[in-house]
Amino acid sequence: MTSATGTAGARIPAPGKLEFTDDYTPAEEERVIRNSKGLPVGVKPKMVWTWPKAVVWAVVAIVCAIGWSVLAVSRGEEISAIWFVVVALCSYAIAYRFYAYYIQIKIMRTNDANATPAERVHDGANFERTDRRVLFGQHFAGISGAGPLVGPILAAQMGYLPSTMWIILGVIFAGAVQDMLMLWISAKRRGRSFGQMATDEMGKFGGTILSVFLVVMTAIAMAFLALVAVKAMASSPWAVFSIGMTIPIALIMGCYQRFLRPGRVIETTILGFVLLVIDIVAGGYIADSPVLAPIFTLTGKQLVIALVIYSFAAAALPHWLLVTPRDYLSTLMKIGTLILLVIGIIIANPMVKVPAITELAGVSTGPTFSGNLFPFLFITIACGALSGFHGAVSSGLTPKALEKENQIRMIGYGSMLVESFTAIIALIAAITVSQGVYFSTNMSALQISKASGVTVSATSTPKQQADAAVKAVNSMKVSNIKGEQMKVTWDSVDDNGNAKTYEGSEALEKAASDIGEKTIVSRTGGATTFAMGMASFLKSFLGGHNAMAFWYHFAIMFEALFILTTVDNGTRVARYQIGELLGNVRRLKRFADPTWKIGNVITTLIAVALWGSMLWMGVADTNGGINAMVPIFGISNQLLAAACFVLVTVCVAKLGYKKYLWIPIVPLVWDVAVTFTADFQKIFGPLSYFTVAANYKTQIASGALSGEALTNAKAALSNAYLDGFLSVFFMVMMGVFVIVGVVQVVRILARGKFGVETTSEEPFVESEWFAPSSLVATKLEKKVQREYSAKLQELRQAAQATA
């Protein structure tokens, strides 16, 4: 993979090109699309049934049904986590083959005779054709982040069934539909962005609402995910050292690629990965060293300051030095780790410890997130099932690189299915540890103190924390999958290497020492739970029990890399968005110019201040911060999804496909019901941010607090007010946006004038490119590919002859 393939690689064709012999069957011939020059540019989508195919799909459907019934009816005995993998994959396959295809035929009506933005513009920069399999990977890397790893873990307190159903059914009927249809409308409009399309289709007013919403949403997402990272890194010298070292590693990679081997991305990535592994191992020695460990033991607040300084530096340094190399590493980690995890789950074959539905599903006072199952479970699990932010990615680079319209289903719908699958894996990680360990890890110190009656804080000794956590777990009336009261247990090995199940506070201490940490109590935010699960899957086939601490910190690194990438990418994107918004004001026009240095500094400052202050307040919150941030993050993300569906509905209505309007409207109505109910409860009533704020206010006014407790209470008070204000802001903004959309749709239907000319779709342009549609080219597509190559050759020779 070094210089040998450097230039020779250019001549390696995409696999599967051979000589053309005209051997179409009549049925095949009918499906080939030819343009006016006689070039075959595509294949009409059609479901061709053969007996073997029908049998395969029947088997898939039966396995799927069996899997769902195992998950739904199992009571009183442990089940294998592999069932979750089976159920998810079968459901995805059926949805992709039938439902997504139905949408393709009825709504998207993709036509390979029409040229995609890449072919129309073809500017050699962003509008450049990209092989479908490559674009699938790039689109997946673009949409995936740490989000799907967090929500399912927090939601596991209510049992596995509601989460599993929402992740799988949600992605099939909402999340993947949104991604695919957003990609479709953008690809039909020269790859225009979400905000521009909203302006074109729904007017300036709707477009502005969306642009403002996107900036706020970006800041919230960054603050929330950074909080997750901070929670996992706080007082862990191993994690702080190994993640901190990714900065020098990125610098080395950046310089290597810049000065020694320009353009050798794979080499650079391998170099970086090797350094990363050494770095994680070195972290273990740092954590063991009595001299070095205290240097790298940072509190949450210190980490926030470090993170803010870092993101500012990242925005100021040239891209090739820090951001680009780390992007390489996180892309590699995203795809590589997912594959390792699936293998790990199948080999480890972990047993599910959590019942389908726990006692906490019926109450609104569960520790990991507060609120009833409806609506709060559906916003806690945001990204794995439905994520509005994907609308921005689907109208970003992907539509500009698309080769053919028929590939939209595979890339848009398919990538989101993989994203949902990551959420299922995170869920498996949370439900295969004992519930006692799960709650000990995911309850804040304050919650543990309340439930156990023993006051603990971050400064208590690990033993005190573990004892209090066990007491708290025993005081909660929650049953395990066998119907007994849940217990704190940890499967490990004793000093002689024999398998042993530890119980009580011993279990928590053993678990902490297994993963190379001092304590696992009250490590909220989900990252610790996910990393513990991932470590136990991976150790099953890579390194055995002794490798557990390594894999734990590998997993923390995996999440932290995502999040760091998010933090500096987000800062940069937010900076541009803020610049553009300010540029709309006449006096501040200069901000719209991205080359203006002073303007850049100001907009970066605004962006960092936005998420940095939210992060600070979250860390200072004694209740853990996660509890307050989850709903606001989930609500904003799901509201953005509602905006995507509104836009898509308007586009579909304008085309006059009245019979199929239900496809975007059903998820829209569901999403609006969920988000507006949740938002309403967060503004009014006992769960609201304002009630929380009032509580803190009386506490502060009573004068009982002093010192740090008082500062923290004040931070929590402003946090509650800010979140409350944001909830109101969201409700008003999106309420207006949805109403604008509904009015539009009603007007369109009343006017009764439909068609492409009523939309901002680009007019038809004849395509001259061919590329297969699905991940693996079909027999017919291979034939057409050969004919295309041969015909293209003929046409070129003819052109040369006439010249």
């Binding site: 450049e128 490559v134 982040g145 799907p148 353009g263 932010f389 921005a392 990615v393 970003g396 541009y576």
Partner: protein, 67 residues
């Protein structure tokens, strides 16, 4: 012989995919296209191409997902 051939093909496929997805092959595609559209002219060197690309990316930020 047949197995060795298959293995080589799979390996080539993997290398092809890695080069494409990492963006390493971008310069090759540029050369191919430049050769077709501007025969006889000298294309940018790889370093020049990478710098131009960087400059372009600087002012066209790509919205990756936060979540």
């Amino acid at each position: 012989m047949d197995i060795a051939d298959k293995a080589r093909k799979i390996w080539q496929g993997i290398v092809w995919y890695m080069r494409e997805i990492s963006g390493e092959a971008r310069y090759d595609h540029y050369l191919e296209r430049f050769g077709e559209e501007h025969p006889g002219e000298t294309p940018m060197s790889e370093v020049e191409f990478l710098r131009a690309r960087e400059e372009y990316d600087k002012y066209h930020p790509n919205t990756g997902c936060c979540c």
